[in-house]
């Protein structure tokens, strides 16, 4: 355990909430900018995501007729809290100080909450577009969640631990899991894209079909909180994939003094999440939206199949390692 002062600094300043907000907005800027350049557009200026957030916070909050106001206010905040909590268990500088056996499972559950929040928002909105979008969001959840979970559990199986930080540390002594388990790495990236509802998996918020899906009736600070939640979702998700498959913030050799190691780890973390963002953005720019029935086919036929194959490979590798 760490001292309370350090814990507070970790949670609230760096790499906790303060850094998290800034980095999430920066990643949103970078994402928009990368895609804009790929589409031969200029893209927004650096300050744009911050300006958007502040403006949305100041806008009037409109309650759809007959909606449960308290619940409608609370859901975006719950989603925001869930992804922010999830981030605390992902190693950013060295190990996470809050790491415990099983935090991987906790992180996975916390990262599912925004999707459930979208479903609830869609259901509560009393708007046909939102309802259809909410149903699509939860249908999609059942499709990508199983392969995604299986893909993220294979590193845990191989490292023999259920802690994200310890899986990252395992890769310090061995190869990265992206090299050892390339199939799981690809599935994790696809699953992350689907979790974040980015093209080609933006089915629940398909603009040309159902306006904005569950987001349709969100206004003002609710919309701001939900947007922020998804920006942080992107950071937490890519940090998790970086920790599980790309060795997290750790270097194969030990750096002394310890604080220099922390700083190095911090920049390694930023570099790795940026690489993952670049992959996700390129994926988004290069595809159109698929239909939910097509996603169902792809998800259960190929993604789930591939993740089970990966699981079998890992079990075989494990038994070989034990016997040697």
């Amino acid at each position: 355990m760490i001292s309370p002062v350090l814990a507070i600094i970790y949670i609230f300043i760096i790499p906790g909430f303060f850094f998290l907000f800034a980095y999430a907005l920066f990643l949103e800027y970078l994402d928009r900018r990368i895609i804009a350049r790929m589409q031969t557009r200029v893209g927004p200026p650096l300050i744009q995501p911050v300006a958007d957030l502040i403006k949305m916070l100041g806008k009037e909050v409109i309650d759809p007729a007959g909606v449960d106001r308290a619940l409608f206010d609370a859901i975006p905040l719950v989603a925001l809290a869930a992804v922010m909590t999830a981030f605390l268990y992902v190693p950013v500088v060295g190990n996470s100080p809050f790491a415990f056996q099983g935090d991987l499972v906790l992180v996975l559950y916390l990262l599912t909450i925004p999707t459930i929040a979208l479903f609830l928002l869609g259901w509560l909105s009393r708007n046909i577009f939102s309802a259809v979008g909410g149903i699509r969001a939860v249908t999609q959840l059942f499709i990508y969640e199983v392969p995604f979970f299986l893909a993220l559990l294979t590193p845990a199986l191989m490292a023999g631990t259920w802690s994200v930080s310890e899986i990252a540390r395992w890769q310090q002594d061995n190869l990265w899991f992206a090299v050892l388990q390339p199939i799981a790495f690809v599935i994790a990236l696809v699953g992350l894209q689907a979790k974040l509802e980015r093209t080609p998996f933006d089915i629940p918020e398909a603009e040309t079909e159902i306006v904005a899906g569950p987001w349709t009736e969100l206004t003002g600070r609710r919309l701001a909180a939900m947007h922020l939640a998804f920006d942080i979702y992107l950071v937490a998700g890519s940090a998790l994939v970086a920790a599980l498959f790309l060795g997290g913030p750790l270097t194969p050799w030990t750096i002394t003094p310890v604080w220099l190691g922390w700083i190095a780890g911090f920049f390694i973390f930023i570099g790795k999440t940026l690489v993952i963002l670049l992959i996700l953005s390129a994926f988004k720019a290069a595809t159109g939206r698929i239909r939910i029935d097509q996603l169902n086919r792809i998800g259960w036929k190929y993604l789930a199949g591939a993740s089970i194959v990966q699981l079998a490979i890992v079990l075989v590798m494990n038994s070989v390692r034990v016997n040697v």
Binding site: M38, F129, I203, A206, E207, G288, R291
Partner: protein, 393 residues
């Protein structure tokens, strides 16, 4: 899941113009739908009867923002036929060049919209960037990007200078290269293939039965193009081919349109290279003799028909405009049934609908939901009673 009614329109992100579908869906499958087209009737046909031939052309250009040249040419062509005018070849060539440039920019615009409907915004941005090349050419030639104002009864209003011809020819190779890229993309991009293949299928028999026109019909294997089968302007002198496809689905319509852009480039290049010398207009009489004419024109969206009746004055007695979208609408309603909810935008976009051009007057009494036609006198009475009271009742 029980049947739900999903209203699409009159205001909806997928629609650029007002139309209303009441889609009755069972889960994600469309069971049936009601279509309401008329939200934007502008009374252009009536207004055309009040103006002389000089003033009616700019009005008819404003029927549509995309195919403005089509409407002006279709009308001018009809009136010239009634007057028995012989249009100088240079004017014919210039009209053809503008018409084909218009087809290119319309099809590029469509490709972008179709990509946007499936959320593929990269292609949307790319095609619209390339469309700017065509728009620049049009602006150089006519001074305008949208309503070119090139036509008048008896010829065209602006000549093309040698430098304009050279600049336009200079733009064509890069466009041709880009089109090649789009052909490659449409044939190989996975998400486009899964979203376009087998969607909104229309067999050849159905295409004929519903009276579809243009790329919609040609995609179903109907080998028909007004430019070839009832040639006007200089289409019988220029080497070009009619593009057809046998798929009959959205993918086929994409293929046809991209093929037509390539053909348009061919036509424009030929016309620019072989532009004859000579005058660009003849003096037209002020009045047209009494008569009737049906002027057919292959607009980017399909066959456009102007029916013109004159009575010996300087005005038309009646002009009736049948836009290609009107001919294609019924097939859309047929294609949509049994399809997925997510495919509505794609299927509707596939005929490249131009809704405001299509609006026909229907008055709906919002109190008892009854549709009825009203006479002009009734309308005037209604106007008085409605607006005398200080606002709509």
């Amino acid at each position: 899941m029980p049947e739900v009614v999903i209203p699409i329109g009159p205001q909806h992100p997928a629609l650029k113009e007002p139309v209303n579908f009441r889609v009755i869906a069972d889960g994600e499958k469309i069971v049936r739908l009601d279509l309401d087209l008329s939200y934007n009737h502008r009374g252009i046909e009536k207004a055309a009867e009040q103006r002389n031939f000089i003033r009616v052309l700019p009005l008819l250009e404003r029927v549509c923002g995309i195919c403005s040249h089509s409407h002006a040419t279709a009308f001018a062509k009809g009136i010239e036929e009634l007057m028995g005018l012989r249009i100088p070849p240079r004017a014919q060539y210039i009209r053809t060049i503008i018409a084909e440039l218009e087809r290119m920019h319309s099809h590029l615009l469509w490709l972008g919209v179709a990509a946007h409907e499936i959320g593929f915004n990269t292609l949307f941005m790319w095609t619209w960037r390339d469309r700017e090349e065509v728009q620049d050419t049009l602006e150089e030639m006519s001074g305008n990007r949208v309503h070119y104002g090139m036509n008048e009864v008896g010829g065209v209003r602006r000549d093309l200078s040698a430098s304009q011809v050279k600049a336009a020819l200079g733009r064509l190779p890069s466009l041709q290269e880009r089109i090649g890229k789009y052909v490659d993309m449409v044939n190989n991009q996975r998400t486009m293939l899964v979203r376009f293949r087998g969607i909104g299928t229309l067999s050849k028999e159905e295409a004929l039965e519903f009276g579809t026109v243009g790329p919609t019909a040609r995609a179903s294997g109907v080998d028909y193009d007004t430019r070839r089968d009832d040639p006007y302007l200089v289409y019988d002198e220029v080497p070009w081919d009619v593009v057809t496809a046998s798929d009959g689905d959205v993918f086929g319509r994409t293929e046809v349109r991209i093929g037509e852009i390539a053909e348009s480039i061919r036509i424009v290049r030929h016309c620019l290279e072989n532009l004859p010398e000579g005058p660009i207009r003849v003096n037209a009489p002020k009045t047209a003799p009494k008569g009737e004419v049906l002027s057919r024109y292959e607009a980017p969206r399909g066959e456009l028909v102007h029916f013109i009746r004159t009575n010996g004055t300087d005005r038309v007695e009646r002009v009736d405009i049948r836009t290609p979208t009107l001919a294609n609408w019924t097939s859309v309603a047929h294609e949509l049934v049994g399809q997925n909810l997510a495919d509505i935008p794609v299927i509707v976009a596939a005929i490249d609908p131009c809704l405001s051009c299509t609006s026909r007057l229907t008055v709906i009494n919002s109190r008892d939901k009854k549709e009825c036609q009203v006479s002009f006198e009734e309308l005037r009475r209604k106007k008085k009673t409605t607006w005398a009271g200080g606002g709509p009742a």
